[in-house]
């Protein structure tokens, strides 16, 4: 039992002979890895860099350090409204998508029923349908059933694309612990509902938190569906896009972008930390 939990822990303390390390230190793969990381992150670093630059032009050389774009950002009512809208939509989407994802994941991992595989692929479909196609389809649907475009229509579309995310995260979590644990709870006098809250939910909690964060961020980020389905109230990505026409507004958008970048980074690291922590807990006794 102990061997299992040890095996799943990262082998951080494994001793590698120093001669091996030195031999490989500056090899081809080292530079490949450096270039790879630079490719991933250097473009994003321009955001914070220019958000502190004392010029409305996004160009080198840098002029001087300033915080005024952050001040301007805070003073912009339209921007703050859009931010608030985005937080509202993403919050609701995260909760709804995670609930639906949990129901789907429970069905997929605990029950057998006809056409289970087909149904799973069907739920995964929004994952692979191009956003622009989905956007147009939803726009047509919204008009044909006479619905007003609003934050609600954006949220519905976001739930649609977030459920597959949530389901995948939660399936892997539910498969990670023994279904005998739920049977043991039923056997000890709890019904299906109380068993869910006393056993399934606490054990799936790391997955639930990861799902909430992931779906929140994908809704918060999402542009195309929001672009098609936005009414008078816009989400942040739409607002930013609309501001790109005015060069003077750009630096404050960069300031906001830098803040979002930082918060997203912290949230993702946190979600991943929670997920790993959950995985390394020994959940299968005696297996």
């Amino acid at each position: 039992m102990s061997t299992q939990s040890e095996a799943s822990r990262p082998a951080a303390h494994v001793h590698v002979p120093s001669s091996v390390m030195e031999g490989r230190k500056y090899g081809f793969l080292f530079f490949y890895a450096l270039f790879y990381i630079a490719f991933l992150y250097v473009p994003s670093l321009f955001l914070p860099l220019f958000s502190f630059n004392d010029s409305i032009y996004i160009a080198f050389p840098l002029k001087g350090f300033t915080l005024k774009w952050y001040g301007e950002m805070m003073a912009s009512a339209g921007l703050l409204d859009a931010l608030y809208n985005s937080l509202k939509v993403a919050g609701v989407v995260a909760v709804v998508a995670t609930i639906l994802g949990m129901l789907a994941a429970k069905a997929m991992t605990r029950y057998t029923f006809p056409a289970k595989g087909a149904l799973a692929s069907f739920i995964m479909l929004p994952f692979v349908v191009p956003g622009i196609i989905l956007g147009i389809a939803l726009l047509v649907l919204t008009f044909s059933i006479g619905l007003q475009l609003s934050l609600f229509t954006i949220a519905v579309a976001h739930v649609l694309v977030c459920v597959p995310f949530s389901m995948l995260v939660l399936i892997s979590r539910l498969e990670g612990f023994d279904k005998n644990l739920e049977e043991a709870s039923l056997d000890l006098g709890e019904n299906a509902w109380t068993t869910f809250w006393r056993v399934t939910f606490p054990l799936a909690l790391p997955g639930v938190i990861a799902s909430l964060l992931l779906t929140f961020l994908s809704s918060f980020d999402e542009f195309i569906l929001a672009f098609f389905l936005a009414g008078n109230e816009v989400t942040l990505p739409i607002y930013i896009w609309s501001q790109l026409r005015f060069p003077s507004k750009l630096p404050s958008v960069l300031a906001l972008g830098s803040l979002i970048f930082m918060v997203s980074f912290v949230l993702i690291v946190f979600a991943e930390w929670i997920r790993r922590r959950g995985v390394s807990e020994p959940t299968k006794p005696g297996a």
């Binding site: 039992m1 612990f177 005998n180 049977e183 056997d187 000890l188 056993v199």
Partner: protein, 371 residues
């Protein structure tokens, strides 16, 4: 008529014509029997024989496709697991990893309406019973296999079930601990007086612990007997072969002589059996003669007896300290006869293979099997 009346007065569990089909597979095939109150009852059989499915039907995790189950007189059709007077010890124990030992043991008492003091007292009593006092605050992953097994037991017993169901609970333990737990479990069962239904594929385990054993194969119950009777008087070749080792000989009934049945057992010659009594089949019937290895006496000198003796050659011998195993070839038979012998005399290093030996046995050791 109320079907519950079919149960005998002393039965805690009555299984009536129960079948369970998984698609085309008959996991449990038309089984009927009773389990008595306070009994240690084992379901024994190879994997896939339906014993675990039957146990899960008693627990309510599976519903019978056909037939009925009564527990303490009440029909169990459609009754979910949480409303049954049974509790289960799972094969891998299913200790809740997010709860400590105390909370695991107290898990089933949420609705019992006890205050904290009463609850603590009950849990302490259980920790005492499973000999783990002071382990209450341990987390599940800090327990050894044997300790998990005890916690699983306490968690089920604290509910005071009418029937405790155990699904191969000792399978994951090493040999020494397993033997220790067998005795402990048996003592515990006598102590609490709860009916135990114990699933195992280990025949020795079943013989050690049970009041009665049901031997299962391919979804059917072959025989239900006490350990001694099951071992001494198996009712068919399959049971005889599954419990311990058995030598089989094709044979034909010749007739009766007093309370003995005379049988022509080919290379063994004519043998007499007093085991089956008047239930033995009549003259001319093709049957199987079964003889346990330890019921055969082996000697290196010709014994002074006229019947129940056969001469052979040892083709293999194993010295096991307290006893020896011999494989003896006799003329007219391909398969050597297995013989187990107590080493009463001091053994020497002299070779014991390719020796001429004589095998003898008693009339009451010869079991006649009709199928």
């Amino acid at each position: 008529m109320n079907q519950a009346m079919n149960t005998t007065t002393n039965a805690i569990i009555s299984i009536r014509s129960c079948s369970k089909l998984f698609g085309p597979v008959r996991a449990v095939d038309d089984i009927s029997f009773d389990i008595a109150r306070g009994e240690f009852f084992s379901l024994l059989g190879p994997s896939g024989c339906g014993k675990t499915t039957l146990l899960r039907m008693l627990a309510g995790f599976e519903q019978p496709t056909k037939g009925n189950i009564f527990i303490d007189g009440a029909g169990m059709a459609g009754v979910p697991p949480h409303l049954r007077p049974t509790n289960m010890v799972f094969q891998n124990y299913a200790i809740f990893p997010h709860l400590d030992v105390r909370k695991n043991i107290a898990y089933g008492l949420r609705k019992a309406g006890l205050d904290k003091k009463q609850l603590d007292a009950k849990v302490d009593e259980m920790l005492e019973l499973i000999k783990l006092p002071g382990f209450g605050s341990r987390a599940a992953h800090q327990l050894s296999g044997g300790q998990r097994q005890r916690v699983a037991l306490a968690r089920a017993l604290i509910k005071r079930p009418k029937v405790l169901l155990l699904d191969e609970p000792l399978g994951a333990l090493d040999k020494k601990l397993r033997e220790e737990m067998q005795l402990e479990l048996r003592a515990l069962q006598r102590n609490v007086g709860i009916t135990f239904v114990f699933v195992t594929h280990d025949q020795e385990e079943a013989l050690t612990m049970s009041d009665r054993i049901a031997v299962m194969s391919s979804g059917k119950v072959l025989q239900i007997e006490s350990p001694a009777r099951l071992y001494e008087m198996p009712n068919c070749k399959e049971v005889a072969g599954f419990i311990g080792t058995m030598n089989f000989f094709d044979a034909k009934v010749k007739g009766r002589e007093g309370n003995a049945t005379l049988v022509d057992a080919g290379p063994l010659g004519t043998v007499r059996s007093t085991v089956n009594g008047s239930t033995a089949p009549g003259a001319g019937a093709a049957i199987t003669v079964a003889l346990r290895p330890e019921k055969i006496n082996i000697s290196f000198q010709q014994p002074n007896v006229g019947e129940n003796v056969v001469k052979g050659t040892t083709s293999a011998a194993a010295y096991l300290g307290d006893r020896s195993h011999f494989y003896v070839s006799i003329p007219g038979r391909d398969k050597p006869i297995a013989v187990a012998s107590q080493n009463i005399e001091r053994a020497s290093d002299a070779s014991r293979t390719d020796q001429t030996v004589w095998l003898t046995w008693r009339d009451d050791s010869v079991v006649l099997l009709t199928s």
